[in-house]
Symmetry: none
Subunit: 205 residues, 4 copies
């Protein structure tokens, strides 16, 4: 009707759809983080937006679908970082360090954009998200490549990849709990542990 409408080729309709989708995803991220996947309800999610309950179903068919969208999004944002870490690395040591740093960086940012009331009452759960599966695949492939070209000893690649994930998750959580999250230090600790064990972990001052 007005020039403004003409000037806006996207149209408020389109803008609103994208914005609503983002709002739901953001709310879902918050809610899943606070309550865990199972405990979270669709109502919790839409309550975190200014939308009506039915609107949720215009964007996602179920709680499961919004979770997958969220996880895919996480994996999509994380994988390039992991790949960059591998490409920039000139040694296995640098690769491991870069990978842990990328992961810790990622969770710091993911945590920052949420309000994080962290009431954490219920039994703490940790999900095998797609982004975790991506770490597993990446680490395992990187490791097998390193073993193949003699850059790493012939260890059990499956166990090692699992160990890396376990370390990343737990040390990552511990890092977040500390006042200023020191990404570099945590990555050095994790990579050093993997590479040389206790001897390789940085000494405490």
């Amino acid at each position: 009707m007005s020039d403004a409408a003409i000037a806006d080729p996207v149209g408020k309709r389109e803008r609103t759809k994208v914005a609503n989708r983002q709002a739901i995803l953001a709310a879902a991220r918050r809610v899943f983080a606070q309550l865990g996947y199972e405990a979270a309800t669709v109502r919790d999610i839409i309550r975190g937006t200014d939308l009506a309950s039915g609107t949720f179903y215009n964007y996602f068919r179920s709680k499961e679908e919004v979770f997958e969208a969220l996880a895919d999004d996480g994996a999509r944002r994380f994988k390039p970082l992991l790949r960059a870490a591998r490409e920039q690395a000139r040694s296995f040591t640098e690769y491991l360090n870069g990978a842990f740093r990328a992961y810790f960086q990622f969770i710091v940012e993911d945590n920052a954009l949420e309000g994080r009331p962290i009431e954490e009452r219920r039994p703490h759960v940790r999900l095998d998200t797609p982004e975790m599966m991506a770490v597993y695949q990446e680490v395992r492939q990187g490791l097998e490549a390193a073993i193949a070209r003699g850059a790493a000893p012939r260890v059990d690649a499956d166990y090692l990849a699992c160990a890396c994930i376990g370390i990343a998750q737990e040390v990552g959580s511990a890092m977040l709990r500390r006042a200023p999250a020191d990404i570099v230090a945590a990555a050095e600790f994790a990579a050093g542990l993997i590479l040389k064990g206790l001897d390789g972990a940085p000494r405490k001052s």
Copy 2:
């Protein structure tokens, strides 16, 4: 009420009470393992016993409480094993090895006594159970003691304990997935990784 009751020094009431509590705990363990904490309902639990629904509330106030009791029970059963591992160890290496072996042994047994259909469709979850907290405390104390007497380098004890838990959980899961769970091999891998990193992990044949 009857002479039989008088003749029974334990008292049917008392015996029944203990038995009922155990029955509920056993059913809860099964149900949580099969359905996961959130998906499990109090109904599922009492259905696994020959008790009536109302009776559940004579023993536990809620699903959360029975879960905690279960976890405490796990910790109670696990802690002595961990302590024994520490006492029998003549070196830090032996200690770590024994601790991991105790944990892997524990989850193998815990898994064995359940039917384990493991349909595991939904996003995999991992709980921060009290028994995990016990590992954390134990490992951290053991480590700090080792550091204090110079048996281990001065690393970040918090990070290291977290890493141990992460490794234990993830490598433990991977071990369970393999056909015959090789406890000794898994423990050697984990302990070797902690102690010497990749160089310390056993070579694959």
Copy 3:
């Protein structure tokens, strides 16, 4: 606790269960009659009782199940009447007459025990209830028997049974609409029509 309790061997629990089931069935009958099967909701039904919504599901798994229970009940009550009509009949004429009379009697009674607000707003529906199927089977068998022994001409038994049902339903409805429902007259009309057509139908005074 009291003598009354002892004097009541059934126990209030049992009595209440039966009573509740009956209450739900009665409410369902009313609701189905007023709104039709499809339009009726479980909520409508329980709203017709003094029970809570969840209680419905202690007795029936769904709307469909309560409908079937209702229809089975109707068939169970109606079939003996139909059988009696056949056994008491000494001719095909008497049989038809008795069968229609039984059906009209049945719907009169079924109608009497309901409050019958009959707001009848929505498009009128008529259900193929099991009791209708019973009429169909009964009439068809009775007819085929009559044809077999030469008591009735060799007409299309399927069509004739259908016609009987159609007449029973429509004339039955018309009968109920009249001030005092004259069961005998309606049955004579229907049976006369079947037997001799217009000539057989009773003359109006």
Copy 4:
């Protein structure tokens, strides 16, 4: 807006309006036939057109209204056939025969133009559509006229009209269920039954 609009005397607006209304009615007929009145949703109907959901409400206020329009349409198409049957008939017998034939012809055609998956699982329902009311009025009037001029006995015209409707519906349904629907035979059966009862119904070969 454009020259084209000026060149079009009907007006695209007008043509579209009629076409849209017809499209909705056609879709509604299909949907009601397949799902039944209650199970059908407005969404189902508009999904059967290329219109947007909101557009439905520019033509009909509700599902009920489109149903009524549909039924009125049916009556409008059916009534002339019934009138023709009366006018062409030279006797009451011919009239009845023609009327039944017209009805059976009508439902055969109505059925033909629809895909008719006929999943028909749920309790079968039959609606008192306006076209049925038309039959009732027509038959009743025709019958009363016949009685008045002595062509038919003085029977209860209300009951007889009801019986005709019941027979038409039930025998009509039975006819549709048979492989090739034999309209003539069905009409002869129905008319014969009305006129002479069992003796009047055609013998089976």
